[in-house]
Amino acid sequence: MKNYISLKIDRHVLSVPNNITILDAAKRIGINIPTLCHLNLKDTCIKNNPASCRVCVVEIEGRKNLAPSCSTLCTDGMIVHTSTPRVINARRIVLELILSDHPTDCLICPKSGDCELQDLATRFNIREKPFDGGELSLRKKEITTSIVRNMDKCIFCRRCETVCNEVQTVGALGSVGRGFNTTIAPAFDNKLSESECTYCGQCVAVCPVGALTERDHTNRLIEDLVDPDKTVIVQTAPAVRAALGEEFGLAPGTLVTPKMVASLRELGFDKVFDTDFAADLTIMEEGSEILDRLHRFLAGDKNVRLPILTSCCPAWVNFFEHQFPEMKDIPSTARSPQQMFGSIAKTYWAEKMGIPREKLVVVSIMPCLAKKYECDREEFKTNGNPDVDYSLSTRELARLIKQANIDFNKLNNAEFDNPLGESTGAGVIFGTTGGVMEAALRSIYEIETGLELKDVNFNSVRGMDGVRKASIDLNGFELKVGIAHGLGNARKLLEDIKYGRNEYHVIEIMACPGGCIGGGGQPLHHGDINVIKARSKALYMEDANKARRISCENPYIIKLYEEYLDKPMSKKAHTLLHTHYFNKSIN
C-alpha cells in the first residue's frame, strides 16, 4: 500500500497520507467542513468520533449515499465534493432535525454567543423550525456546586460521555435509555453530586451547546463588591492570565497579567492578589514534606509510603477519594494554592489589617470548576465561614468585565498588591502540566544540596505527553519523578502504585489535559489543541521574565514565615496550610 495517495476535494487535487480522514485532508487545504459531534484534541487522548450528527457529510463520486467526512478515510483517486446543493441540503435538514426538539431560548442561554449549534444554525441560514419534535421536559436539570446540567439542551453528541469515561475514566456520565427518552446522566439517574463526578469540568469544556455549563457566581460577586461593610479581595490563578485575553479577541497565548490586574481593580476589588503567591507557599510546604518523607523513607522508616503525590488539583483529590480511597494517605497533605491563599488571607492578612473574618470576602478567579467545589468543602471553613468564599471561572471574569463597560484592551497596565501578590516564576508555571513538579524541583534542589541552581529550567519535565518521567540528580541522589495530566493517565500511575509497580519518588497529577491551562473554566478551545499549547508557552514565558524564579526566594514568603508561620511544616503551618482526605467510595 502506498504511503501517500492523491485525491480531489472540490477544485483541489492534493496528496495526503493514506490514513487520514476527508475532514482532516480538507482542513489542510483550507476547507473547513462543519462538524458538531466530532472532537479531536490531538496529542491528548480527547477524541470523540461517533459520526452520529451527520453535519459533516460530503458527496463522494461513485458512492450512492453521503459520507460522514469525520470518519471516512481518504482513498486513492477519490473525488469529494464538500458543498454541493445536495450536501448543503442534507446538512440543513440535519440541523433542522436537531433543532426540532432543541429549546430556542438562545437569548437567555448561558452558552449564547459561544454555542456550536447556534454557530451552525447561523452558518446554514436556518430561519425556521420546519419540524416540530416537541420539547422533552422530562430530562433533568441539576445545579451542583460547580456544574449546571440542563439536559433539555443536550444534542447527544456524546462528547461529555467520551471525556468522562474514556479520557478521565471517572464514569460519572453515561447515556441512559433509548430513542426519544435517551438522556445523559449518572447511573440510576442519580444526581451528579451523588455520583463519582470529580467536577473536573472537562464535560463542560467540550459541550458544544448549553447542556453543561458552570455554576455562575457573577451576580453574587457584584452584590459583594457594592456592599460597603465588606472588604472584597481577589486571587487569580496562574492559568487565567494566559487565557483571559481570548475572551477579548486576543490570540491564544497572549499574556494579559497587567491588564487582568487593572480590570479587577476597575471592578472594585479592595485588593488584587495573586494565587501565584500561594503557589510559592505551597512549594515551601509540599517541598518540605517531600524531603521529609524521602529522608525518612531512605532511613528505613517503614511507616512512610512513597511516592508522594501532589495535591493542588481539586478534581484529582476528588478522583482518588472516590476511586482509590485506600491510597488517601499517599498524596501530600499540603492544601492547594487556592486554599492556602484563603487561609492566610483570613488569618495573617486579616489580622494585620484589622478586618474581622466575617467582613472579609475572599474571591478566586480560577481556570477550573472543581475549585468551586473545593471552596465549599467543610474542612476549609471556620465556624461555617469558608477560607475562600467562592470561585469564578476565567469565563465568568470575562463576562463581568464586559458587563462593567471595561474596554479590556485599552486598560493601562497595573501590578498586584502586596504582600499576597508577589510571586516567583515557580508560582506561575503551576498552571501547566509539569509546572508544579518543576517548581518543587527548583526549591528542593537548593534546599537539599545547599547549592545554587545554575539553570532553573527543568526541560525534562515539560511537554504534553500524557505520562512523563524524569530523573533529577540531587547531588548524587537520583530523584525519580513522574507526571500525568488527564485523570485516565493518573489512573494508570495509581494502578501501578497499587500493584507495586511504582518506580517514582514524587508524582505530579493534574486532572485536565495540559494542566490548568486546559481547565474546565477556561475560554472554550473548541477542539483546537494549539490553543492549549499556546497558553502553556505563555506561562513559561512569564516565568522566564520573572526576576525571581525559585519559590523559597520570594521575600514575602520569607517574611510570612518570620512573622507568622515560623517554618515550613510547623504546628501553625500544619493547622493553616495542610489538610486530610476522605473515603468517598460509592460502591
Binding site: N165, G171, G174, R178, P186, A187, F188, S195, I586
Partner: protein, 158 residues
C-alpha cells in the same frame, strides 16, 4: 426504583456469573441476562456488583440495562402478563386488551402491582397468530382473548 440489600449468597452468585465470563467487560450483556434470571430483575445493587467485578463504571452497566427493553429494574409479578402486540394480534384488538389490563390492575406497561402478584408487559408475536389476540401469563398462552374475559382470567389466578 426499589432499593434492596443483597444477601451474601446472591452477591456470590452474581460474582460467580461474572467469573464464568472471565470478568470480561465485553460479556456484559450475557452477564446481565444470567443475572436477571436469578431474581427476574436487575436492581441497582446487582448492577453495582457487576460493575465492580468487571471493573467498569456502573453508569455503563446502567446504560445497557436501560437501553435494552428485555432488561428490567422492576421485579416481575408472580404472574407476569405479556400482551402480544404483533401485527396479527394488534389488528384483532390487542391494544384494547392492554388497556383493560391497565385499567383493572391500575398499573402501566413495565410495572408491577403493589402486592407483587401481577406485572404487565408487551411482546411481539409468540408464533400463535391463529389464536390472535394472544396473551401470555407466565408460561400459559391464552388465545382469542376478549376484553370482557380479562377480569375472569385474572380472578382464576387468585
Amino acid at each position: 426504583m426499589i432499593k434492596i440489600k443483597l444477601s451474601p449468597k446472591v452477591v456470590s452468585q452474581i460474582e460467580a456469573i461474572c467469573l464464568n465470563y472471565k470478568n470480561e467487560p465485553g460479556e456484559l450483556i450475557n452477564i446481565l441476562h444470567d443475572c436477571q434470571e436469578l431474581q427476574g430483575y436487575l436492581p441497582e445493587e446487582v448492577q453495582r456488583v457487576i460493575a465492580k467485578k468487571l471493573n467498569i463504571p456502573v453508569s455503563k452497566v446502567y446504560g445497557v440495562v436501560t437501553f435494552y427493553s428485555f432488561f428490567t429494574m422492576t421485579p416481575k409479578g408472580r404472574y407476569p402478563i405479556s400482551v402480544c402486540m404483533g401485527t396479527a394480534c394488534y389488528v384483532r384488538g390487542s391494544e384494547k386488551l392492554l388497556d383493560e389490563f391497565k385499567r383493572i390492575l391500575d398499573i402501566d406497561v413495565g410495572q408491577t402491582t403493589k402486592d407483587g402478584k401481577f406485572s404487565l408487559d408487551c411482546l411481539r408475536c409468540v408464533g400463535a397468530c391463529g389464536l390472535a389476540p394472544v396473551v401470555m401469563i407466565g408460561k400459559k398462552v391464552y388465545g382469542k382473548v376478549q376484553a370482557i374475559n380479562i377480569k375472569k382470567i385474572l380472578e382464576e389466578l387468585e
